[in-house]
């Protein structure tokens, strides 16, 4: 590479290559001990000598302005020797060619699971159905690109990073270890983030390079991914090809599932969560809502020369739910049983808990049967079927699709910590009564727009006894908040919220200690309501909290000699009793397919979700709706398309389609509440449920519409072209 012309360009401060950055940033290897056998080669912040995918940075220009930097990038001269690429997952599995020769093959991770007895069940079953489904890789398309500003202070050997991330403490640890700066000298500050959806919870080589270059240059350095850079380097997800089989009795009992899944993850496993988790989740979640006892699965996670893939909203669930619900509908069709009735016969009973699935997942308490009944009721299923039949006679092809699901939320350390990742499964909250009677809440869970701070304020206000306007919530600063995991895996409300609740209850007790001392009354006679200490029985106001604050902070001399007030309280919470706090839900879609054009119109969508205690009904609805539309995107529009040479063909918003307002349906949401007994709050997660279930519901609705025409689609996204191909029209 010849960097000299770029170095001489106007406004350029420095031009660096991978070797220069490697002096300041050590490479990483993304494996986890509990994913047995997972392998990945060391990855540097910037390519050294060899780049493995279009989107791997080779050089960086630091200039006074973005336009000067981009002008200079065009002056870098590189001589490339093109190496053979592998872009197809079957070719990758066959090792044609092997991307990292030192690893021996292209298999990053492999898992097999078998309850035993599967062959017997399939041999004796009355009905066996099988289908192969394909899922296009897609990506998060956060409206705001990834953004980082790293500011190294040589005098203090400290690094302050303003970072659009979901996990500030995880990043603090990673900057510290890979840049060799003491942990306490690294501060990660995460203010408003323009959408994340799992995209911003990973370690990105260009962001590590930005921090390393800040150390190298001893000055602040900023990098913001533009749209093309986002398409090329934001993690992708969901590229799977899976064959699934289901064995049933003629009475309509599901007996066994079998899965053979291959997923292609790019040339590296992504640090530090690995790219093995998505496929692993698919293996775990197949058949999740149902009573069958036998299951066998095989998973191959393979390297390819495309962008890397990793955990994106609902991680594995959209694949597993679509595979399960897709094959369930095919079985129902073959058995001649209504899809809703078929599900009713096979969903785990509501009184069967605690329950252990064939793959060993432990469910504390779910509500599949109530959920199904509620869904059929709100969508007026019977009438809808009658209307569908009437319209079919007039040449209108409507389809109704159902999708039941379970979902991983509130993960314990079993998700990452046990595998050796320095990712916190616990979160902490600090609550402080201010002298004016206001309440400050500091929590380690971050806010990306989902309303985390709003629900923490609600929980804190209720727990202490103040009105909402008295609460101020702060998140996203490793220099300020307690230590914790951040935002991912639908954990913010259930884990962070519980820490806030416990801290709030403890602070309430501490405030009453001060009030009892001040009022010379028994603490048991007192309570807090409406920003004042009140008589527990009569609710008569005794003392405003502002007075408690004034005395505790400014006139503690008026309190008893042996009394010390404690008006700042910190509590932490880790889910421990179950590996994951599973939720359940069910979605339904009503679509109309135009057989002449292959276009799908989304007419209506329903979702019944049981995520335990609902803290804020409006925010819970909006999490579902946003998630559902993201799932619809994957089902109908979104796909990162690569050419045979490993070049991304559609790296712009003009070519990569996302859901827009004009095509989206109104979505009806209903919540059932089965609180988890593991916490006082009882909240389970909800942020990913919509995305998990929507693709399956849309697919089943389209196939229900196509069934009388003898067609079926099995490859997402279901573009008009693919639907017309299924109809034999193109």
């Amino acid at each position: 590479m010849d960097l000299s012309k770029a170095q001489a360009a106007p406004g350029v401060i420095a031009v660096v290559d991978g070797r220069a950055v490697a002096e300041y940033c050590t490479p990483w290897v993304a494996v986890l001990a509990h994913l047995k056998g997972i392998k990945s080669p060391p990855q540097h912040a910037m390519a050294i000598e060899r780049a493995c995918w279009q989107g791997e940075a080779c050089a960086a220009v630091i200039a006074e302005s973005r336009s000067q930097a981009e002008d200079a990038v065009a002056l870098i001269e590189a001589e490339w020797e093109e190496l053979p690429v592998v872009v197809d997952m079957d070719a990758a599995l066959a090792g044609k060619p092997v991307i990292h020769p030192e690893l021996g093959d292209n298999i990053c991770f492999k898992r097999e699971y078998d309850t035993g007895g599967v062959d017997d069940v399939f041999a004796r079953a009355d009905v066996v159905v099988e289908e192969t489904f394909r899922f296009g890789r897609h990506t998060g398309v956060c409206l705001e690109g990834r953004a980082i500003l790293a500011d190294y202070n040589a005098g203090e050997h400290s690094l302050t990073v303003y970072h659009a991330t979901q996990a500030p403490h995880m990043m603090q640890d990673i900057f510290s270890r890979h840049l060799n700066i003491p942990e306490a000298n690294v501060r990660v500050i995460t203010k408003d983030v323009g959408g994340s959806f799992g995209i911003k919870v990973h370690v990105y080589p260009d962001e590590m390079a930005t921090a390393a270059i800040s150390v190298l240059l001893r000055r602040p350095v900023k990098f913001v991914a533009d749209r093309l850079e986002s398409f090329l380097s934001d993690i992708h997800a969901r590229e799977h090809k899976a064959r699934v089989r289901l064995a049933c009795s003629k009475g309509g009992e599901m007996l066994a599932f079998e899965l053979d899944d291959v997923t292609a993850i790019g040339p590296y496993s992504v640090y530090p969560r690995t790219s093995g988790i998505e496929g692993n989740q698919v293996v775990n979640l197949i058949g999740g809502p149902y009573k069958h006892q036998k299951y066998r699965a095989k998973l191959h996670v393979v390297f390819t020369n495309k962008n890397v893939t990793c955990q994106y909203r609902a991680v594995g669930h959209p694949i597993a739910v679509a595979l399960t619900e897709g094959i369930v509908d095919i079985a129902a069709q073959k058995l001649g049983i209504d899809p809703a009735e078929f599900r009713r016969r096979n969903l785990i009973a509501d009184d069967a808990y605690p329950y252990t699935s064939p793959v060993g997942l432990k469910f504390e308490k779910l509500s599949h049967q109530r959920t199904l009944a509620k869904l059929l009721d709100i969508m007026r299923y019977t009438e809808l079927r009658a209307e569908q039949a009437r319209l079919r006679k007039t040449g209108v092809h409507r389809g109704i699709g159902l999708a039941a699901m379970i979902e991983v939320t509130n993960p314990s350390p079993a998700f990452y910590g046990v595998g050796g990742a320095r990712i916190s499964a616990q979160d902490g909250a600090t609550l402080r009564l201010e002298p004016t009677g206001m309440l400050t809440v500091l929590c380690s869970v971050t806010e990306q727009g989902q309303g985390t701070e709003a629900i923490f304020a609600q929980i804190a206000a209720s727990a202490v006894g103040v009105t909402l306007d008295k609460v101020r919530c702060m998140t996203g600063d490793t220099g300020v908040t307690p230590y914790g995991g951040g935002t991912w895996a639908s954990r913010g409300a259930g884990i962070g919220g519980e820490a806030v609740l416990q801290a709030g209850r403890a602070l309430r007790s501490n405030i009453l200690d001060v009030a009892a001392a001040l009022l010379k009354l028994d603490k048991a006679e007192l309570d807090i309501a409406g920003n004042a200490v009140v008589n527990r029985l009569t609710q008569e106001a005794k003392l405003p909290l502002a007075e408690v604050g004034r005395v505790a902070y400014f006139r503690p001399d008026t309190l008893p000699m042996d009394f010390q007030s404690e008006l700042t309280v910190t509590r932490h919470y880790t889910p421990r009793q179950y590996g994951f706090t599973f939720t359940n839900g069910m979605q339904a879609a009503l679509v109309e397919v135009d057989p002449a054009t292959g276009f799908v119109s989304l007419l209506r969508h329903w979702c019944v979700e049981d995520s335990g205690t609902v803290i804020n009904p409006m925010l819970a609805d909006e999490q579902l709706r946003g998630g559902i539309v993201q799932g619809i995107g994957g089902a109908l529009y979104e796909e990162c398309i690569y050419g045979p040479d490993g070049q991304l063909m559609n790296g712009s918003l003009a070519d990569y389609l996302v859901p827009m307002a004009g095509e989206m349906p109104d979505i009806v949401c209903v919540h059932l509440e089965t609180p988890t007994q593991q916490s006082q709050l009882g909240a389970k997660g909800i942020g990913e449920a919509g995305t998990a279930g929507a693709p399956a519901a849309i697919m089943n609705a389209i196939n229900d519409a196509l069934a009388p025409l003898g067609a079926r689609v099995t490859q997402m996204p279901f573009t008009p072209e693919r639907i017309l191909k299924a109809l034999g029209k193109v």
């Binding site: 959408g195 727009g449 709706r625 539309v629 918003l653 003009a654 827009m660 307002a661 989206m664």
Partner: protein, 157 residues
């Protein structure tokens, strides 16, 4: 730079004169030269609508218009339309209906919605959806946004 052109425009009621490089687009100018960072950049190729601003009364993609093309124009941004209170009813409805999550699309979405509202047309939900279909929101799924706009147009349901 020698290519820079003297450009005079009115931004949120204030006359602004600057020497501007021809290649600088309008939103970079607003954000970087004037510090008006309420207009956002989502794609920089005219698809996402995050950069929507009002020029001479019409909403435009601020990333597809060069700043020098705005010579002699009147430009209104989210900051100016907030200060003038023109957007106040819509902003209130967005708050109450939780019609924003991360908020990155919101300034552009508000300008696009207000463009429909000020026609005085009693738009249906479908017409509202069509009117904002050039503005990408990844968070909400759009329903709450449609609800909020509908409420401003038709009054509370």
């Amino acid at each position: 730079m020698e290519l820079a052109r003297e450009t005079t425009l009115t931004v949120n009621g204030q006359r602004v004169a600057r020497r501007i490089e021809p290649r600088m687009h309008l939103v970079d100018f607003l954000r970087e030269e004037l510090g008006l960072t309420g207009s956002h950049l989502g794609c920089e190729h005219g698809v996402c609508g995050a950069c929507t601003v009002r020029v001479n009364g019409d909403i435009v993609r601020g990333c597809l218009m060069l700043a020098v093309q705005a010579d002699g124009c009147t430009v209104e941004t989210i900051e100016g339309l907030t200060d003038s209170k023109e957007l106040a009813p819509l902003q209130k409805a967005f708050h109450e209906r939780n019609a924003l999550q991360c908020g990155f699309c919101t300034p552009g979405m508000l300008l696009a919605a207000q463009d429909l509202i000020r026609t005085g047309k009693k738009a249906s939900r479908e017409e509202i959806r069509a009117h904002i279909s050039g503005n990408y929101c990844r968070c909400t799924g759009y329903q709450a946004i449609v609800d909020a706009i509908e409420e401003v147009i038709h009054g509370p349901r």
